[in-house]
Amino acid sequence: MALIEVENIRKDFVVTRKAGRLRRERSVVHAVDGISFTIERGTIVGYIGPNGAGKSTTVKMLTGILVPSAGRISVDGLVPTEQRIPLARRIGVMFGQRIQLWWDLPLIESFELFRHIYSVKAERYRENLASFRELLELDPFLETPVRQLSLGQRVRGELTAAMLHDPEVLFLDEPTIGLDVVAKQRVREFLLRANRERGVTVLLTTHDLADIERLSSRILIIDHGKLIYDGDVEALKARYGTERVLVVDLEEPGPPLRLEDARVIRTEGLRQWIAFERDRTSAARLVAEVAAQAALRDLTVEEPEIEDVVRRIYRGVAQHAPNV
């Protein structure tokens, strides 16, 4: 049995709206509209979608906060809302935007309290704490009250708190939001390591697609309550990332090049960005075409950004795709 099994879950909300002075209008919102997927132990899965797509609703159902209107959920063999407390012991949760630590207490005291809340054995607690202190470099601010920590420090504290009780699954909601590039990298490395060394399964919801690219092998895309993609990150780019960009540096500045099956999308002095469809023309042919028109100094080919890929999917370009 897979670690997480989700079978045709739905979640309907009844929404009342004022329609005029006194009347009320009731309508049903299908926040989650028949989603199924399984997640195997030890994987890192990205879960993305536009705002209002149903991401947080799904995560709430997986973690026992919300009861599905229909369908079956099993996390580590447990039914989340029926067995909330046993499940809570096996999962770790971290929200980028919400604080779980105690605001006015030193960081270390938050950890101590978590130890007691999760009933972590003293020995194991010491081991884990020592490990995280080293990995995340917590010592400089271990005694500092949480309210005085910088965002980066707080995130490291939250990650530690989420991991202290050796959870099987980590649910992360925008873990790197607001962090600078260096801090983001550190968080990602920590998660990769946790996954590799402790076998922690990770479900990651995020708007930062670099997180997805660097961390997850698999990506789930949800929109309007439905799962519109479930598969490899690479496969996603291969299927939908058909557009590429050839960046050329010319010897002399000139007007935008006129090319067949390609168009110049940007120029800056000597440099021109040329977009082309992979299946309409090849990079090689395009380079030859450019060289025929102007003296070429240097060039690179840019891979599709997952941003662009996902944007196209959000916009419905991929509606007719066969995969899901």
């Binding site: 026992g64 906060i65 919300l66 009861v67 809570a88 999962i91 309290l113 999760y118």
Partner: protein
């Protein structure tokens, strides 16, 4: 169970440590709280400046009612006062975070804080109670003494149950929170005065259905050896513990139903 109690101890100790960091402020706040809650008794004194008796009850006898209910309410406030925040926590998602922890939600709310300054209310309630007991011509027996001592925690349990039960309304409508105030703060006010001043319907509603009569009125009757102006059976004067048990069970059930509703209707 022992594990839960130990955890409660840890959590409360952490809150107390945090408050004691500001020692001066803590003393000031506690004294302030005592003074401010004492004004409730000042009202009673003002009333008695105008009449010698209130529906057959003398001022010290009312002081006894006041002392018992104030102590019971102070303990209640100290232990579950955090429930006042529940409507905020439901609204801003903090309650969801509690559902993610491997502990009961009510336990988490109850152990989330311990406002030491509420001891101020307990202190002034105790002072009034001691005053009443010293002035009143009570014929002390072991049973009377036992009842007095037992009444404080038992009445606290009844009050706590009432508060937990009524605050559940916020799981249906967050704006409904004030309805709970009618029973918690309204109930406390109601308990400061004897049942026989209220009309029958209000006695039935706030005195028996919401069992506030068992918080101060019935225990006081027994301690004073006062014949019940309402002529009710004397056995009711010992019903406190049973009422507390039933109330606690009802409150626990209501809480579970309410949280379940919250999980179905939308986090």
């Amino acid at each position: 169970m022992g594990d839960t109690l130990a955890l409660y101890g840890h959590l409360i100790a952490a809150r107390i440590r945090a408050q004691l960091q500001y020692r001066g402020s803590f003393v000031l706040e506690t004294v302030g709280h005592a003074v401010v809650t004492f004004l409730d008794f000042v009202v009673i004194l003002v009333l008695f400046a105008n009449v010698p008796r209130l529906a057959t009850w003398s001022q010290p006898e009312i002081a006894l009612l006041y002392g018992i209910s104030a102590l019971a309410f102070a303990i209640t406030d100290l232990m579950v006062g955090q429930l006042d925040w529940l409507s905020n926590w439901v609204r801003d998602g903090t309650f969801d975070q509690m559902l993610l922890r491997p502990r009961g939600t009510l336990f988490q709310i109850v152990s989330s804080d311990f406002q030491l300054r509420r001891l101020g209310k307990a202190a002034q309630g105790l002072v009034v109670l001691v005053y009443a007991l010293s002035v009143l011509p009570i014929e002390w027996t072991p049973l009377r003494a036992l009842l007095l001592v037992a009444t404080i925690p038992v009445s606290a349990v009844i009050f706590i149950s009432i508060w937990v039960f009524t605050i559940c309304i916020v799981f249906w409508t967050v704006d409904g929170k004030e309805v709970a105030n009618a029973f918690s703060y309204g109930g406390q006010f109601f308990a400061q005065f004897p049942m026989n001043i209220y009309d029958r319907w209000l006695r039935r509603f706030l005195g028996y259905l919401v069992p506030i009569a068992f918080i101060s009125y019935f225990p006081a009757l027994y301690i004073l050896g006062k014949p019940d102006p309402l002529g009710l059976p004397a056995a009711l004067q010992f019903a406190g513990p049973l009422v507390a048990l039933v109330a606690a069970l009802a409150a626990g059930r209501m809480w579970r139903v309410a949280v379940r509703h919250y999980q179905s209707a939308g986090g």
